[in-house]
Amino acid sequence: MNEEISFWILSAIAVLGALVAVRKRNLIHGVFALLVFFAGLSGLFLLLLAEFIAAVQVLVYIGAVGVLLLFAIMLTERVAGDDDRRMISRGWSWGLLAAAAVFVVLLLRPIQQLPSQDAAQPIKPSVEALGHKLINPYVVTLEVLALLLTAALIGAVTAAQGLRMPKEEDSPE
């Protein structure tokens, strides 16, 4: 009963956040709506007893991605947001169609054999077990992921900096 109420509240928060994030003209408002969506999702994770994932969700998405988005907006747009008159692009009907198609194709089968709620097995959430998993079977993945993150970091810095032309007159003093 409790869980059901919480589920509906959190889902409503998440869906509303996502909708506002995509629809809002003011980008800064949009980012904060997106963060509300992330927060709602993190609550849902908690509800599903995946608390480490919930923490990571908050840490990575709200803490890091949100701030990154804010910085990107501060660097590109005027503070007021975009003055784009026609905010919907031309291909919207195709987009809708594609989204619907993907939805149907992907979910038709699983929906038919969705387990009932009672099927949930009682588990004791443990970060320790997750940690052991991470080191034992998934260690290669972890290392590859670390490599990927490093590469992404360097790539991001390079892309954001642009190519630096060594100009003589640029050097101060």
């Binding site: 660097l75 954001a160 900096q161 642009g162 190519l163 630096r164 640029d170 101060p172």
Partner: protein
Amino acid sequence: MSTAAAPNYELIQQDGLETNLLEVSMGPHHPSTHGVFRMDVKLDGETVVDLRPVFGYLHRNHEKLAENMSYLSSMPFTDRLDYFNSMTNNWAYALAAEKLIEVEVPERAEYLRVIMAELTRLVNHVTLIGFFINDLGALGTPLLYAFREREKILDLFEQASGARMMCNYFRFGGLRNDVPEGWLKRAGEVVDRFPYFLDEYEQLLCENEIILSRTQGVGNLPRELAISAGVTGPMLRASGVAYDLRKVDQYGIYDRFKFRVPYTEGDTGDCYDRFMIRVLEMRESIGILKQALAGISEGEIMGNAPRVFKPKPAESYGRIEGPKGELGFYLIADGTPKPYRYRVRPPSLINLTVLRDMCLGGKIADAVIILGSIDIVLGEVDR
């Protein structure tokens, strides 16, 4: 502005990330512009790319007022120029007026003038250093320590002249009144106590890692620029020029005292130098004070100045080494009891002209401490 080697910062597209400039109007109601001063700053992120000093918010028509009243009447108004240092303002004005007429200043008055001027220097430097560290962000602790010492000197001023800050103590040809009995002894005690305070100050501040890194290399004022902009006082000495009017002009009886003029060797002239030069100057002032307090003798304090001050047509320029720099008064007499022209050379204003050159390329936090290290008083800048 000046043609000398000003540090020239052009907006460099650093590493490609180009951002919009942020224009900030710092002041006139900014906590650390020392009064109603305004800096229109253009910022690239945190870096100052342009700075325009705006002043005049405290303009009180001082010079024109003085031209419409008798010579002596404007003596109290000089107190309000640099309201920390009314004694030295008085002295500079008295010097200028005394050059218009033949007048002999008695020896005791000369000694007292030196004592008052050096005490004023202590007051000014102590307050400045307090405010300077406050600008660095030290939440008032050094400031209040400085004020504790300043109070003792202000007490002395009050006992001598009746006012703590607006002393109005000097007269053409001498002083308004003699100091009360026991004043010299009390002054001696204050002066004897002062070096301990300075020791404490130097121990706490001068080698503090954060203060060192915040002030060294910040707001460089090259020697050439300092000279060509007419900068005077501790600021000029911090830029490597050992120029002190007490040595150059030897006005009053400064030729009788032994003291040294601290200056920076080399061409740095940054905020740390300006800060340290003032600390060292205070030590020299204490030396002068001790000599003066030992050498003073009984006698008259008012010379043979005429009752009605009505000089023959002439012009004169009296200048002293004020705590902030060369404070000069330029007077043109036309035979009437009022000056035909009355002009002040305020050290604060002249020193302020190099603000832009020192701030460009620095951070916004640097601009604040550079302004603090210039040591301005808006009463004197705007007059």
